[in-house]
Symmetry: C2
Subunit: 496 residues, 2 copies
């Protein structure tokens, strides 16, 4: 795997000085076109051996191109705010928007490799990490990102030589740390893990480029040319959709039976029982979220449902049991300009809370497979891949021990009509029924189909959907409160 | 000062239950109008005595209004990312956008009060903190914010009583901590400091509302009504500009002499000397920023200048001496949608770096007193107040021991013409001269006037402007590098 990167590649000074100026100019022009087009971001990962010139390469890129439009991130020790969230959060918050270049020195591969070499994890753990990295990259590419992954390689002998050279020069001595020499002693171990990483994650859409790191001129020219070719090629292709795949047809509806139709929407609670139950479960939720153990818990609750199904009312019954300092509600509406310049899930990632907090999404990332699908706001490919992207997203949350609670509030078509009409009568502004509500209603069957697909494809063991029979508001609210309490309790027990 | 809040205000249950429903409805409607209009944010500070119902009030507001459009922030212990930045950064990051309500439980008053009572600071320090708070609030109000400050008061006797009542009930016992009792013992000390705080910061634009905190019904109704009246009043006034003041006329230009005209633009360095100096000062900058002491330093460098004065080239000469992982360049262009929904300085606050970092602004917050003034993008009042807002902003940075380096790159009108023409000749896209450049050039004198005003009003001892004679690029680049080195060195010495 590393054969070509141990051949002793070398570029003489004369060649280098002849080749650099046109390369720089071409890179700059590509960068300007990238910014003007602003259709896709470029994500560059720089990994590899200590002493193989990773930092130098990154600095050189900043010198060659316009550093104002490159964001470089040295992913060192995470901050407390980062540790409080799923591992990938720190990468999401630094993703470059469309039209920009983001360089990551240290990537989602760094810690899995270090942990495996140090024996803190097993091969199976490493494989899982790699699988997750691969899925993340596939998603980013599907969202339009150009990902370039560089692996700076040194043979064992060359690594020793490089570290010694750096140590000798007073100008570079500070760069060689004890840790570098420790890593050198573990060369063979690293090599085995590195190879496995590269093998598993060199995909068609985001392959690794292995670069021999010893000769600075060779390394620099190689990296520069790879970037130039890739960006230029993508710019030339821009506009063409290259990742279009045809989605398999959704499950046909043959016998008119579906998961929503199996719900018993006639379930009810009378007002007196409701009051008693409400007090009981709000009290319980209040105690649970105020217990010292809750400091280690994060809760993300998410509400989807038919228009007028009572999401707002249900949310208020939850929040009135919570301490306002520790919850946050995210009403999901049209994305902002900054959000549109990022992958679809970015605008949800940015709201992932710290531990000890509750975040409630009023509508959510499922918009893609519901309204965007039905209204044709995104392509079939986009919403088809969203199912697995969402599952990956939720799996990351759950792996970080976040309690993910997902509610679908279901009402019948007749009940919706009744509520629309009632709302039209009371002039109360908050409940104004809009044209859009009536329009959506006309597509009732299509929405129902989309909801059933969504439940089938995203109700997972780790993040199951709770379907809430919501024709009776009392019944719905109690079911929701109960579910919240049960899931939080379960998480507290597991955390012991 | 607290007399009216020790009268034993009390509302009976019947009155309360009669008054609450219409109040809630009116609050909700106001909130909806606020969101629809989206012209100003509402900032609510809730401060006061322990046990006076601050938390309960905040929770109640969330219950009465639509919690989806209220953001509540309990400003407890700052995170490491927050500690690494000026104190106000954590408030800036949580400011509500236009149309939303932000509730702060614990505010910019909390720590100054606690520090003074604990004797960690002197009266003079407290006064300074209050002065800063007042200036911040003035700025927010000028930017359109509605600020409501509530002080929940309890007499000494009532505080003891409240804490005991809370302790007796198993449901509220957890809320009374040892710290509450410690604070109770310091009641008189707190009272003296609180009074001084309220006296100094009850301004016409953001007065304190002191509320007797003992009776929950009285407290709740009072707060609810104050908020309703204030929001409603402001909504009714919206559109009318209420803070318009007439700015004093700028310094007249009588003898054609100004600070820019005193610059000797003929200063030059020849190429050979430039190469030597460049190497020297880049080397120095490289060593300085890589020294262990730099971990405690933050550098914010800011570039303004005539069009084609060479900002980009100068920035690249700096960054090529830096480690790409630790610097960030912010090219300042038109604000995004999220930025437009916030006070003017918000989009700069969000980029304030952590310690050990360098952030370079390519154009800056001075846009308001330069391009926005000259082109009439903001009112005279807005740019006139910007001078002191900017001085306050920079003072906060400097107080946090951030090194603030400000460059104005000055070229002559002839030199600009020469460069424009040269750029038009070389086809290189990056240097395309736009219509706008030619338009700006026509307003040369107006810009010059604005620059001189800016320097006069914002070149402070703590954050002085460095005027750079930039007709000769070599000379300019060396002067800039030298200045950077000198200021960083000075900061390192002071930090000892």
């Amino acid at each position: 795997m590393f054969e070509s990167a141990e051949l002793g590649h070398k570029i003489d000074k004369e060649t280098y000085e002849k080749e650099v100026p046109p390369l720089r100019e071409a890179l700059l022009e590509a960068q300007i076109d990238l910014a003007k087009l602003a259709k896709f971001p470029v994500i560059i990962l720089v990994s590899g051996a200590d002493g193989a010139g990773r930092g130098e390469t990154v600095n050189l890129l900043n010198e060659w191109m316009d550093p104002r439009f490159i964001q470089t991130h040295g992913m060192g020790e995470p901050s407390d705010e980062e540790l409080d969230r799923p591992m990938m959060w720190r990468f999401w918050r630094e993703l470059p928007p469309k039209g920009r270049i983001g360089v990551f020195l240290g990537s989602w591969y760094t810690w899995p490799i270090l942990n495996r070499v140090a024996g803190r994890t097993k091969t199976a753990d490493l494989d899982q990490s790699l699988e997750r990295a691969r899925r993340l990259e596939t998603m980013l590419v599907d969202e339009g990102a150009l990902i370039l992954k560089f692996w700076m390689h040194l043979s064992k002998e060359k690594q020793e030589k490089r570290l010694k050279i750096l140590e000798k020069d007073p100008k570079t001595r500070w760069r060689v740390t004890e840790r570098d020499w420790e890593h050198y002693k573990l060369y063979d171990k690293f090599q085995a893990v590195n190879e496995s990483v590269i093998r598993h994650t060199s995909t068609a859409e985001a392959p690794w480029t292995i670069v021999e790191g010893f000769d600075a001129r060779y390394r620099s020219l190689t990296v520069g040319k790879v970037i130039l070719d890739a960006v230029r090629k993508r710019l030339d292709e821009a506009g063409k959709k290259t990742t279009e795949v045809s989605a398999p047809p959704p499950l046909p509806s043959i016998d008119k039976l579906d998961i929503l139709k199996t719900l018993d929407l006639s379930q009810k609670i009378d007002k007196k029982d409701f009051q008693a139950e409400l007090e009981k479960y709000q009290g319980k939720l209040a105690l649970l979220t105020r217990s010292p153990k809750f400091k280690d818990i994060t809760v993300i609750a998410m509400f989807e449902g038919n228009d007028a199904a009572g999401k707002g009312g249900a949310i208020r019954r939850i929040t009135s049991a919570l301490d306002a300092r520790y919850y946050n509600i995210i009403p999901v509406a049209a994305p902002t300009e900054e959000e549109r310049a990022q992958p679809y899930l970015w605008r949800f990632w940015r709201h992932i809370p710290r531990r000890g907090r509750v975040t409630i999404f009023d509508r959510s990332w499922y918009g893609r497979v519901l309204v965007e699908r039905v209204e044709g706001f995104c392509s079939e490919t986009d919403w088809m891949r969203a199912y697995s992207e969402i599952n990956d997203f939720e799996a990351q949350l759950v792996r970080h021990k976040i309690v993910v609670v997902k509610f679908w509030l279901s009402i019948s078509k007749d009940e919706q009509l009744r509520r629309f009409k009632a709302r039209e009568k009371i002039g109360f502004k908050r409940f104004k029924i809009t044209e859009e509500d009536w329009r959506n209603r006309k597509k009732w069957d299509e929405y129902e189909h989309a909801v059933c697909d969504m439940v089938d494809r995203t109700s997972t063991e780790i993040a199951p959907w709770t379907l809430v029979e919501a024709n009776d508001k009392y019944f719905a609210r109690i079911k929701i409160l109960k579910t919240m309490c049960r899931q939080i309790e379960a998480a507290m027990k597991n955390n012991k």
